[in-house]
Symmetry: C2
Subunit: 418 residues, 2 copies
Amino acid sequence: MQRMSQLFTKTRREAPKDEQSRNAQLLIQAGFIHKEMAGVYTYLPLGFRVFKNIEEIIREEMNALGAEEVLLTTLQDPALWQKSGRWDDAVVDNWFKSKLTSGGEVGIANTHEEPLTALLTHFVSSYKDLPLYIYQFQTKFRNELRAKSGIMRTREFMMKDLYSFSRSEEEFKQFYEQCAEAYMKIFERMGLGALTYRTFAAGGSFTTGFTDEFQTLSASGEDTIYIDTEKKIAINKEIYTDETIAQLGLDKDTMTEKKSIEVGNIFPLGTKYAEAMGLRFRDEEGNEKPVIMGSYGIGLGRLMGAVVEVFADNRGIIWPASIAPYDAHVVVLDGKEEETAHIIQELERAGIEVLYDDREDKSAGEKFADADLIGIPWRIVVSKRTVEQNQVEVKERSGGKMQLLPLDNFQFSSLNFQ
Amino acid sequence: MQRMSQLFTKTRREAPKDEQSRNAQLLIQAGFIHKEMAGVYTYLPLGFRVFKNIEEIIREEMNALGAEEVLLTTLQDPALWQKSGRWDDAVVDNWFKSKLTSGGEVGIANTHEEPLTALLTHFVSSYKDLPLYIYQFQTKFRNELRAKSGIMRTREFMMKDLYSFSRSEEEFKQFYEQCAEAYMKIFERMGLGALTYRTFAAGGSFTTGFTDEFQTLSASGEDTIYIDTEKKIAINKEIYTDETIAQLGLDKDTMTEKKSIEVGNIFPLGTKYAEAMGLRFRDEEGNEKPVIMGSYGIGLGRLMGAVVEVFADNRGIIWPASIAPYDAHVVVLDGKEEETAHIIQELERAGIEVLYDDREDKSAGEKFADADLIGIPWRIVVSKRTVEQNQVEVKERSGGKMQLLPLDNFQFSSLNFQ
């Protein structure tokens, strides 16, 4: 249980004036994040809890794919990136670079294909060593000219990046599809399933010549996609041509234009990095071949921002239960601490994580407004009135439905909101 | 259960030639870490698990202190650091700095006093808002001229840094002592308790004029300390003078010189950063005062390296159970997969995490050597011989003691090594 009187953050009355995006406005106003510089945000205790919940959902799904977790480094050796040609600022224009005191330059990682591929040359030599699926949660740095969209497009952000290393195109494609399914599962677990479309986009080095984006419908999105709601498939505007539509067996008449937020992407890398870094294996016939790679990214802040954009109402944030910072927001009024302690005990016994608004200098109205702003799924109020009636009031943040439960013999599981 | 045949890392026959420190030699040889550049190491799956176990122990103890977890940023605004005078390379000589595409410079965080203190000015104004204890696990970057000591002194490292914000010197000191106790608890939980001394060191802005280091005895340590084993207290060589010894009520005749590794430090910051960043509060009488701060650091890689240095023997690493990558290292021989599957099932039912050496192309000798090198607390062997005797062989990595347990009705809890 976390007492709000002990939480160092405070809600603000007004959204910050220097933020244009709804996600950053709400997250700053509610005390989830703090703007350090343009495009650089600190995660405060409430925001950090959401962040960790998102991380854990993604980790579970990556582990279910049989992927192994590592932690690569931020500091990057230019020599590796020169091999792939991506050290050159003319090729990659958003590097942060720095100088080593001991001489030479060092990169601040913007992605990790090169170091991971190079690393694997120490462990992979035979077809028996493959396939491999390796992922991490690691900060990426992008020296963007402009930062906007709040926590959805930043100069510093935490990313889950997974890389696949396969022996054949078939093996690659099989995993690629498995990972696409895992991605949809992640978005479903975060409440974004119905709104998120696997979307054909430009690029890709294989047969179809496409990559896949996962786009969540949102009026505030930077992307434009064309969706087929029946087939639950979409095409990015970039490649929305008669030719593509025909190639994908879709029909222009059933496609609708929508704004959307890219919440994930997966794409074939082919043998580009394996060739550059010398990651080769000997197949069963003894022939040496480059490893076939794929890349699979999800930005955690991006996803958190998308959830805020999609679900928030005019009173504040609405978190899906799976990633909410706490499960229940307990509000005590009229000094009914003792009765509230009983309720909190029962909630915790049931494994419900509680944020407890025990603040003495706040009115009922202020507490309710903060509960709505912070957006925890269930608000539970214990007041003079409810105690007199031997009840507590439970309100669902998303639907706004209210229900009264008995104060004695309180059981959260007896809630019935269908 | 993790099959070794699926683990992408492999052990090496020989320690790497380019590492001088025992910790990096063993950790690389056993496949826990990979050297990216001098002083920059990637954590591979086994190493990452140890890392996470250490992180979780520290997190539990920090939460028990009532501290709140956040995630500050790596990119740093020079304006903040100019206020404290620490942007200047003449003052802090190990910055990594970079240029923003949009103009101006940016720092790659080497510590976080300035941004956290500045952040708190948004939330702290009254004595009612204090005290506060805030921590994070975040990477620090130090542009060291030379990198040595393996993962114990690196250019990029994960640190738990906690900062305390108090209203009075008494309040500060009380927490300072609580945190010192929490630190000893952390080192005890990692098996380093008996070897770790709270050590008086130079610096500090308060009464005694000392700061506190936590030093773990190790012949490979960079530091020299003088210990009083009776009082379980030590003095860093830097300040080991007759005056200090007298001041601390110690006796030169009972002090012994030892080499040691600094595994943590805590120190008073006084009002330096609060003054620089304008973090002030109004006390109960309405007087405005600067907040009194303290800083409490533990480097996770440093701690992991210290554990390796202290416990390793000539056959490899020996992990304390609390941070071992797995609890049991199960070795199958002679094709006894079925019997082994039964044992693994029983282990997992008991909550024991298993690394399973199912490799078919390795001899018994190679498997045993790898088990010793990797250093998991319990090695469990299922072979033709043990199965014939309806037994499995359980060996303790640290003491080397061996015990036979029944194959049918196997229960790990029936182990008795006292």
